[in-house]
Each structure stands twice: as C-alpha cells, then as structure tokens.
C-alpha cells in the first residue's frame, strides 16, 4: 500500500480520535479531499522540478505512534539553547511532553494546539486564524487534515515577550519509521514582539518524515523573529511549510539554518497585507553526503511602500544537491516596493549539484527590485594568503566559508543562538576554531 492510500485510510482512524463536531473538523474534511485529489507533488510540477519525494515516500511510515515515549532532559539537553532562560514547547513523537516543556498562560498563551482546538476560550482565535494563511497545496492540506497537535502561541497587544520560545519536535525512532505532522499557529497582536526557535530532531537513525505547517500572523507593528535550526540525522526528512501573513508596519524575519537531514524542503511564504511592511528571509545551507536541501520562497508584495530582503548562502560538498527557488511577486498596487534577493553558492565537490531559479514577477512600475545569484569557488589567492601566514588549509577554508555565511549570521538577534550556530558550522566543517576572533 503506498503512503497516499495509507494516509487516506488512516484518516478514518484519525476521525475516531478527534472531536468531529468542531469547527476545525470541517476544514480537515475539505483538506483531505484536496490531498486525495492532488496527491504528493511530483517533479512534473514546476515548484517541484528539482526535488523528488519518491525516495522518501517509499518508506513504510507509521502514521500514529503506537506507544508513549519518554526521554530524559540530560540526554537531549544539547538540542536546546540551554544557556538562556526560555519558554519551551516540546513534543516527543508528536505527543506533548510536559516534563520537558515550560509553557505559560500568564498574560499570553504559549501552549498546545490540541488544547487550543478543544477549549472554547480559544475558539475565536482559531476561527479567525487557523488555516487562513496556509495554501491549498497538497502537502499543507495533508497537514491540515491531520492537524491535532503543535505549538499554539498567542501574544496579545503591547507585549514584549522577554524570553525566546523554543519549539522542539523529537522523534525517538522507537518505531521503524515515523511520519509526523505538527501544526503551529502563532498570532502576534499589535505592537508585540516575540522570538521563536524551531527545531526538529530525531534521536536515532530510523527514518522520519515530518510534514510541518506553521502559520504566523503579525498584526500592526508587531515584530517576529523566527529561527529554524535544521540539523537532523541523515535519515530524517523534513517538509516545512511556513506561511506568514503580515499587517501594516509589521516586521518579520525568518532565518533558516540547514545543516542536516536527508531531504529538507522549506516552503516559506510571506504575504504583505498592509503598507510599510518589512520582511526578511535569510538562510545558510551547508550540506554534503547525499543530502538535499530545497528552499522555495515566495514574497508577495500586495500593498505599497513595503520591503523585502532575501539572502541565502549555500555550501555544497560531496554528492549533495541544493535547490533555491525564490519568487517575488509585486502586484500592480504595490508601488514603491523595494525587493532584494541574493543567492550565493559554493560547490566544493564535483558531485554536488546546485539548481537555482530566482524569479521576479513585477506588475508595478515604480519599484526597485533586484536579484543576484552566483555560483563559484573559494578564492585561491585568499587561501594562499592565509596559508602563507601559517593557517592550515583546512582552517583557512573553514574561515572563508564562515565569512561567506556571515552576512546571514549577523542579523541573528539572540547572541547564544548565534554562538550555537557558529559551533554547528565549525563542527560541520570539521574544524575546532572559534570564529569570533
């Protein structure tokens, strides 16, 4: 039985477990129909031209974890940014882990999607926001159909959330292969500010497929900083669908750090529904060893006087494949838009591949839009310079690559987070040097 059929029949089982009279259940029913009709995307679709899901769909995933699993904090401490105080929402095999988490209802809601979906006091927010940003594409629809758990964050007006929020999904791998479909909803009201770190981590080498959907709503003048750390094991695959609806004068940024995983697909969509909005999309990808990372971004400029900045850096070693497909749409009304996009890549190995397609669709005339895209190598003369000054070749290379990705790291606003990423990069490049010399 292929995965699509399995999911469709699992849906009937799933219906038995959830409240089928709820508002959300109608959405689920519609969504499963869309998925049934569209199926998994194939390479024939323009948006999936360079990424094939065939390999990862072959596994026999169990759609619902059979047993409850627990893990000790000491075993997984390293996956947290543990040197700062933070709110934590932690899931193990898709189930909420209360002893690893630290949630709150004090003046804001940092809690679970399952409780938000079932409790009446959240009903209004759910009806106003749930599934309002996600598209009707097959994978987000599949997630909507099975949506039951995930992070629910609602920050009311004029609130500065002092601690970052960490959302971590662990997969224990106690079952042979797991499929997870977390669903996050983040609503930030006027003038509020929040920082969120999201991570998916599997704890052994059994295959995992995560199809995640995150919807973020930034209301007037809200500020959201979102960081995604993708450093999973080589058998874990992630399809991340993130949708961000911005209202006027809000500022949203998403940083994606992709170092691990077998296949990672990031569908990152920004919709600017208001004037003077600022959107930032940045990413560093450093991969090797048969890995495949695909960044598929969309910035939709709908109203005037907005800005967007994109900067994606990639370093590709061994037989890895990198894909970048960045789309900027500027609608007719969106005059005075400034949209910038840069995608720089370094190929280290002969077997590595990079496919990139920066795409502009512009319907307004008074705009400044540009994109740049490069593929190249490390500068030989720079390497020689460093070597002649006693820096070994390996370290010299690492320094250059670090410098190459530094633009993206510079805009990370949590210092501890920056340090952590720096360490991961050093680790990934196989050197033991601190880069902040």
């Amino acid at each position: 039985m292929d995965l699509k059929e399995k999911l469709l029949s699992s849906y009937l089982v799933f219906e038995d477990r959830v409240d089928i009279d709820s508002y959300v259940h109608n959405l689920r029913n519609d969504a499963i129909k869309i998925f049934e009709e569209k199926g998994f995307p194939t390479k024939k679709e323009e948006a999936w031209k360079y990424t094939s899901l065939n390999k990862i769909l072959k596994e026999d995933y169990s759609v619902f974890p059979k047993q409850e699993n627990t893990i000790e904090y000491s075993d997984v401490k390293k996956y947290f940014i543990h040197d700062i105080d933070s709110f934590k929402i932690v899931f193990i095999d898709g189930k909420y882990s209360s002893h690893l988490s630290q949630t709150t209802h004090d003046g804001m809601d940092i809690c679970l999607m399952s409780s938000a979906l079932s409790k009446p006091k959240y009903r209004l927010v759910i009806e106003n926001y749930f599934n309002k940003a996600a598209t009707q594409d097959s994978l987000p629809s599949l997630n909507t159909a099975f949506s039951s758990e995930g992070a629910y964050i609602h920050i009311p007006k004029n609130k500065l959330v002092e601690k970052p929020i960490q959302i971590i999904y662990f997969s224990t791998g106690n079952e042979s292969a797991n499929m997870l479909q977390p669903r996050n909803l983040i609503v930030v009201d006027e003038n509020s500010h929040v920082q969120i770190i999201e991570r998916h981590q599997s704890l052994n080498s059994n295959p995992v497929l995560t199809n995640s959907v995150t919807e973020i709503f930034t209301n007037k003048r809200a500020i959201v900083d979102y960081y995604k750390i993708q450093n999973d094991s080589l058998n874990a695959s992630l399809i991340d669908n993130t949708f961000i609806q911005q209202k006027q004068e809000s500022v949203a940024s998403v940083h994606t750090f992709s170092f691990g995983g077998k296949l990672v697909r990031n569908n990152l969509n920004f919709y600017q529904n208001g004037e003077r909005i600022d959107s930032t999309l940045k990413g560093v990808t450093i991969i090797g060893n048969n890995q495949h990372v695909d960044h598929n971004t969309l910035v939709h400029h709908i109203e005037p006087n907005c800005e967007s900045h994109q900067d994606y850096k990639g370093i590709f070693d061994e037989n890895s494949t990198g894909v970048f497909n960045g789309k900027i749409i500027v609608e007719k009304e969106a005059q005075k838009t400034n949209a910038f996009q840069a995608n720089n890549n370094i190929l280290i190995s002969d077997k590595a591949t990079i496919n990139t397609k920066p795409q502009l669709e512009i319907f307004a005339d008074d705009v400044k839009c540009s994109h740049g895209c490069t593929i190249g190598q490390l500068d030989e003369s720079a390497l020689f310079y460093m070597q002649s000054r006693g820096i070994p070749k390996k370290e010299a290379k690492a320094l250059l690559m670090y410098a190459f990705s530094n633009n993206v790291l510079n805009s990370v606003k949590i210092p501890e987070m920056k340090q952590r990423i720096t360490k991961i990069i050093a680790n990934k490049l196989g050197v033991n040097i601190g880069f902040d010399l």
């Binding site: 990139t356 795409q359 669709e361 512009i362 839009c369 994109h371």
Partner: protein, 483 residues
C-alpha cells in the same frame, strides 16, 4: 539624410518594400486545402520535388507531432491556434493588395518615413547582400558571384535539398531534432522554405548575409527553416528579419533555425523581428513560436543578437549547445512590448565542454498593458570544467499596467563553474526626465534617449547599419506609451 528624402524616394521605396512583405506575384500558386494530415505533408514534399528521404523525414516529424501537445509553461496567454484550420501550403499574399499608393495604410507610410529607409541608403550599404527588386538581377548576380568564388553556398533550403543533399542530410535536424518540441516538430513536417548557408573551411564570408537575399523566393511563409553551417575556421555574419513592419496575414509563425559552428568557426546571427503586433486594443497580431539553436564544436563561437519588437505573442529561446572545449556562446537581446503584446523570450546555454564561456545580456522594455518575460537556462554539466557564465537581465517598466518577469534557471553540476546572474527592474527616473526637459528635450525624446542608453549594450552588437534602424525602431515601438 531625411532632408534629402523626397516623395519620389518614398514611392519608390514602397514599391520595393512590397517585396519584403511578400506581395510578390510570380509564384502565385495553388493553395492547399486547410487542415493537416499525412497526405498534406506528402503533398508539400512533392510540390517541392523533394527526394524520398526528405519526405520520410517530414513524415517522421509529423508522426511525433501528432503525439505531442502544445506547451503551456510559458508566461503567455492566447487563444490557441486551430492547427486544422490552417492551410499549410500557400504562397503568402500572392496578390498585390493595393493598386496605388493612396490605398496603403497611412500609418504604415508614416512608419517608413520615420525609419528613413531609402533605396539610396540601402545601396550605400554595399556590404550587405540585400536583394532589391528593381535591380535584383544585377545586385544578386554580383553577390552570388563573389560568394561563389569563395565556395560559399547560399540558397533556399529547397534548392539545397536538391543540389546539396549530402550536406542537408548530414546536418538537418542535428541541433533541433524533429521531435524537439511541439512547434519544431510541426515545422519539420510542413516547412515551406527557408535559407541554407554553408561556409567552407577557413573562409571568412566577405559580407553580411541577409535573408532578403533570396532570389525568386518571396516570403517563405509561416514555417521557415534555416540551416547555417560554418565549417572549420570559417566566419559568417547572418542577418534575419526586417525593421519595416510586416503586415503578414498569417497568424501563426513557427520557424526553426539551426546553426552549426564546427571547430574554430564563428557564427554571428542577428535578428530584427517586427511582425504585426496587433492593434492597440490587442486584436490580431502574429504568434511567433520559434526554435533557434546553435551547436558549437571546439573553439567555436556562436553569437545571437535579437531585437524583438513585433508579434502579439513571442515564444523564442535562441540557445547555444557548447559541446566543444573552449567554445563560446553569446546572447544579446532587446525585447520591447507595448499595448497587449506578450513576450516570453530568453536563451539556454548548455555547457558540455571544458573552458566554455557564455554571456547573456537581456533587456526587456514593457509598456502599455504588455507582459515581458525573460526565461533562461544556464546548465553546467559534470564534465564542463572551468565553465563561466555571466547573465544580466534588466527590465524597464513604463506605466503601471504592464509586467516584467524573470525566470532564470541555473543548474550547476561542476565545482569549477563560475556563474553570475543579476537582474534588475526599474522605471525611468523622474529625475532623468526632468534633467532632459530642463535642457530643452521634450519628454518623448527624453524617453527615447534613455531607452536607447538602456539598450546600448545590445544595440552595439548589431551590425552597424542594422543598429541605426533598430534604434529608430525602438523609438517607434514605444511611441505614445508615455502619458
């Protein structure tokens, strides 16, 4: 030059211009019934007195075409032509339309005047092998003699099929195979005529070859087939098209151009396309679906230059397959769309050999309610060590009802590849216009000036005499687009 221009010049010019429209009486021939089937393909082949291998070749293409469907990926929207409602063999416009000059559309006359193409001027451009009706015999023979001395073969492709079957057989369809795409397959099955050019080893073609230079072959109609072969170490510059507006009645044009540059050869192919773009309301106009591709062997170079101002819908991607080591591909393009025109154009640079280089400069100008897209592919294969590409796509938007789009695909599979791509979109700055106004240049002129500057990089690549006309053409195409 325009002050010397008299009404007589104009009249004379118009008479000769008619030839280029295809208003040519001699080959008034029977028109085939509409529709397309195997019999029609056979009949076309028979009409052309083609050998059996050519008929089979056409039939093979037709067979593949039937199994193909029309591509829909391009960023253009139009009513699909009904392929069974077209007559596949007819001498286009086989009767003169007008008896006297007064009947000619005054708009057209005005355009001629603006373009300032006079017979005298053309004659002066002695180095262009341009066929002019009044003295066609003499001019043509002179040029033919010069070319013949060098061993250059330049004739219509139907003649070539008969006279040089070995060359045609060897190269036809090698760069653009019959089943390459929907329109190429259609063209392969039904092509009516086109040009054939062969430059022998080590020969530098002494003049710019032009498609006007086609003796007794008026307009080749909708399905044109061009094959240019530059043998080892040779050079040729080839001009196609015309700056004068062509009011062709044919809705659909599906041409195929194949260039083959053998070791150390160089081909420069320049196009000016100004087919009827439809009226200001977007009615009518030509659909231009063209497949153009060149193959570069070792150290060879192919350079495409195009100025696209006409056609209601353009679908055109002149490409280079850089097969040989050290080969070079270039693409310089200006695409102008106004009113309701749609253009989806660009190039493909396929790097297969080592140390191959490609340059892409694309300038898109959209005005009115038009949509202008650049679509390109740069592909570096695993064996293409030290491949180098530079791409630049700039778009200029005039007015807020048009659109400019870029779809660049970049695929690199070799670590030594160096690829740069940059694209910008902007409008003409108010400060720039103000600056010009201040110095007594009116807005319309100022725009022309700025557009000219914007396109300079590409205009410079055109053969000199062509560049002058192309420059004027840009002005005319954008006339009235500034409100």
């Amino acid at each position: 030059m325009s002050n010397k221009y008299t009404e007589d010049d104009l009249r004379e010019e118009l008479k000769t211009k008619e030839y280029e429209y295809g208003f040519y009486t001699d080959i008034a021939s029977d028109t085939f019934p509409i529709g397309l089937n195997e019999d029609i393909v056979k009949a076309i082949s028979k009409k052309k007195e083609e050998p059996q291998w050519m008929t089979d070749w056409r039939l093979e293409a037709f067979k593949s075409w039937r199994e193909m469907s029309e591509p829909e990926w391009a960023n253009v929207h139009y009513k699909k032509p009904d392929f069974q409602a077209i007559s596949y063999y007819s001498a286009p416009n086989s009767k003169p339309k007008y008896d006297s000059l007064d009947e000619v559309d005054p708009e057209l006359l005005a355009t001629f005047a603006k373009l300032g193409i006079s017979i005298d001027e053309q004659k002066k451009l002695a180095n262009v092998a341009m066929d002019v009706v009044i003295d066609s015999v003499s001019v043509a023979t002179t040029f033919k003699k010069t070319l013949g001395e060098k061993g250059i073969i330049f004739m219509s492709i139907s003649e070539a099929i008969k006279e040089h079957p070995e060359l045609v057989k060897k190269y036809l369809g090698t760069v653009v195979p019959q089943k390459d795409n929907f329109y190429a397959a259609l063209n392969s099955a039904v092509f009516s005529d086109g040009s054939f050019c062969y430059i022998p080893k080590g020969v530098k073609c002494p003049m710019e070859l032009s498609t006007y230079f086609r003796i007794n072959q008026a307009g080749t109609g909708q399905f044109e087939r061009t094959l240019v072969i530059a043998d080892e170490g040779s050079y040729v510059s080839y001009l196609e098209g015309c700056t004068a507006p062509s009011r062709d009645e044919n809705q659909l044009h599906a041409a195929v151009v194949e260039l083959i540059a053998l070791d150390d050869a160089e081909i420069k192919y320049s196009t000016v396309q100004n087919w009827y773009p439809g009226n200001a309301e977007g009615k009518g106009g030509v659909y231009n679906f063209v497949t153009k591709r060149g193959l570069c062997e070792k150290n060879a170079k192919i350079s495409w230059t195009q100025v696209e101002t006409g056609s209601a819908v353009t679908w055109k991607y002149p490409s280079c397959v850089l097969k040989g080591d050290n080969s070079v591909g270039e693409f310089y393009s200006i695409a102008v769309t106004n009113n309701f025109q749609q253009a989806d154009t660009g190039t493909k640079m396929i790097h297969l050999g080592k140390n191959t280089k490609s340059t892409i400069i694309s300038k898109g100008i959209s005005a009115g309610k038009s949509q202008n897209s650049y679509r390109g592919l740069v592909k570096i294969s695993p064996n293409a060590d030290n491949a180098r590409n530079f791409s630049q796509c700039d778009s200029l938007l005039m007015g807020n009802e048009c659109g400019a789009h870029t779809f660049p695909y970049i695929e690199a599979k070799n670590k030594t590849a160096k690829i740069e791509h940059e694209a910008t979109t902007s409008k003409i700055g108010e400060d720039q216009i103000f600056y010009c106004n201040q110095r007594g240049i009116d807005t319309e002129k100022a725009i022309a000036l700025i557009v000219n500057g914007f396109s300079k990089e590409v205009l410079n690549k055109l053969p000199m005499e062509f560049a002058v006309e192309a420059q004027k053409l840009l002005e005319i195409s954008l006339e009235g687009s500034v409100g």
